[in-house]
Point group: C2
Chain length 157, copies 2
DNA sequence: ATAGTTGGTTCCCATTTGGAACTTATAGTC
DNA sequence: GACTATAAGTTCCAAATGGGAACCAACTAT
């Protein structure tokens, strides 16, 4: 199977990765959450080649994660902004960064610290069930198949 | 900059993606959390080519996310298990899948439903600050630079 | 008239991927 | 003893993708 066909999988994670799972794309999103909006700013910060950046921004826009809006006419110039849908990827970015902070930081510590404004403390993100408010561990989850795709997703349980 | 040099960046997210940010790798991890451990099982479920799978499993093992352990001698056979460090990526997987469930599911709905055993309800994961217990939105976060890398990460604020 | 800015596209070459066949070591069956 | 199956890869080739650099278009500023 080719990577470009994974958006045809029923799995929600596969479909998500069809939009944001490419090399460089999650780093583009990191910069979006840092307030970067313009092509050349992305390009300089990431060091990615221009045609790859162009392709990734197009895929994110087509996928509904970014919105390409004109910020001036004459000459026409566009910038890329997170949509509401895109902003919902924030937990993914935070957990990825936090995992790196914890396991991959060198002797100088994490390069960025995220403070929770409301309590003033460095953010320690956890997986929380919004229904009961409890913190969730992998073993706390029971997975059930949607009968429509019975047998196509789960191999074991 | 080449993608393979991304692990030299100070950014924790970039370092994380150097291990798990490749195409296919997050799908390998999805299967790990579903209990898949063996090479041929990964290969058949993902449809990825065998040498790419071999490469990704090696990178995950070198990165400390998976552990390659022999499950039999004669003939020697190995399987891949999540390490404690690997299991901490569970929130990333859950949030990615949940985002796909919400925004990319077709008419038949999400293919898998995750139930929280403790409360019995379908899991709705949220970003939570473990210090104060509040739910966290992107605007609730204030980012500060570690002075050691001053100016190298943040462009604006 | 010339240089600079912004947001790309085009070109070439090297690396990576997809697909399939092959390998190694062993167990089980005819 | 010969054949087949299993598991976990490795090797091969053609096609697709990526890195690096140059180029282009439509302006603005000096």
């Amino acid at each position: 199977m080719r990577w470009q066909d994974i958006d045809q999988q029923p799995c929600s994670l596969a479909r998500t990765l069809a939009i944001i799972g490419d090399n460089w794309t999650l780093l583009v999103l990191r910069d979006c959450f840092m307030g970067v909006r313009r092509f050349d700013d992305f390009q300089q910060r990431l060091g990615v080649t221009r045609h790859v950046l162009s392709d990734r921004l197009r895929k994110l826009t087509e996928g509904g994660v970014l919105d390409k809006v004109a910020y001036q006419e004459r000459p026409l110039r566009h910038e890329y902004r997170l949509t509401a849908m895109g902003k919902e990827l924030y937990p993914v970015i935070v957990h990825l960064a936090q995992w790196g902070d914890k396991h991959l930081a060198g002797e100088h510590g994490a390069p960025l610290i995220r403070y929770h404004r409301q309590c003033g403390e460095p953010l320690e993100a956890q997986l929380q069930c919004s229904h009961c408010g409890d913190t969730v561990k992998p073993t706390d989850i029971r997975v059930e198949e949607n009968p429509y795709w019975a047998g196509q997703i789960l191999v074991n349980s």
